[in-house]
Point group: C2
Chain length 132, copies 2
DNA sequence: ATCGACCTTCCAGGGCACTGGAAGGTCAAG
DNA sequence: CTTGACCTTCCAGTGCCCTGGAAGGTCGAT
């Protein structure tokens, strides 16, 4: 009873064959069984795994982080504690990024406002452009 | 009357010799004069230019974008119109990023809240971890 | 003469998650 | 038998901005 070939898995999971092979090489997917001809032969469980990987990606986790979670699970443990830690860290990072981005936005908006008010002719060569 | 060597320029501008050589190769800085020994010999004007590059970087412009502005200026034109366009585009991008990041933050905060409330034992293997 | 701080060029890597392409094997249908 | 869709591996490149390191030349002071 043979399972899915890589193209079917790609289609079913909404990714590409390239990506699946990359995930395997990266260690996110276990080495797939092979047909006599050497084709990868996947079971249905790979779809759950890919779904989890997708959820992790959607939460902005890196493949390396997702891999850690998967490894814990593969060792038979519940990765929940690790996941919550990851989420906490992620929140901190995002809050920092939001703050930085808001600050940058304000700065650029200021520059833009000056530019709207000013006269381009007042740019001096040593400034290159005084609007920046 | 010789000017500054690359190390002095690096120090005066708060960057590194590596970066200065990279900027030259990338086209942000004109090829510097050379001393008889082949050392780069910079005039004071390079500091204005580096200051502008720094301002552009601080506004989140890419080196390629900064290079465009510098090219316009080098052709003797006022790059102000181009700069304001760049700033407008930059604002749009940042607003999109802010919105995406805020959405992501909300999503992760939700996940995290579920995790705080739930029981890790309810994770099933096909979920890998239900907190994600 | 020699030391150490500087300078030169050139090549390679790194982080992240793929993506492209070449060269070739396999399979089912017509 | 041929076509075309699929599969395989391996290598290299993308984008961005540097950064590291090797191998060697130059300068000023001791």
């Amino acid at each position: 009873m043979s399972g899915m070939r890589i193209g079917e898995v790609a289609q079913a999971s909404g990714t590409t064959t390239k990506t699946l092979r990359y995930y395997e090489e990266f260690g996110l997917l276990p080495a797939a069984d092979r047909t006599p001809a050497g084709y990868r032969d996947y079971g249905l469980d790979v779809l759950d795994r890919l779904d989890f990987i997708g959820r992790g990606q959607a939460a902005g986790l890196t493949l390396a982080q997702i891999g850690q979670v998967l490894d814990i699970r593969d060792r038979g443990q519940a990765p929940c504690q690790h996941v919550t830690d990851l989420l906490d860290t992620r929140l901190e990072v995002i809050d920092r990024q939001l703050a930085e981005l808001a600050q940058l936005r304000a700065k650029i908006a200021d520059l833009r406002e000056d530019a709207a008010a000013g006269d381009p002719a007042t740019c001096s060569p040593e400034d290159v452009c005084r609007y920046l």
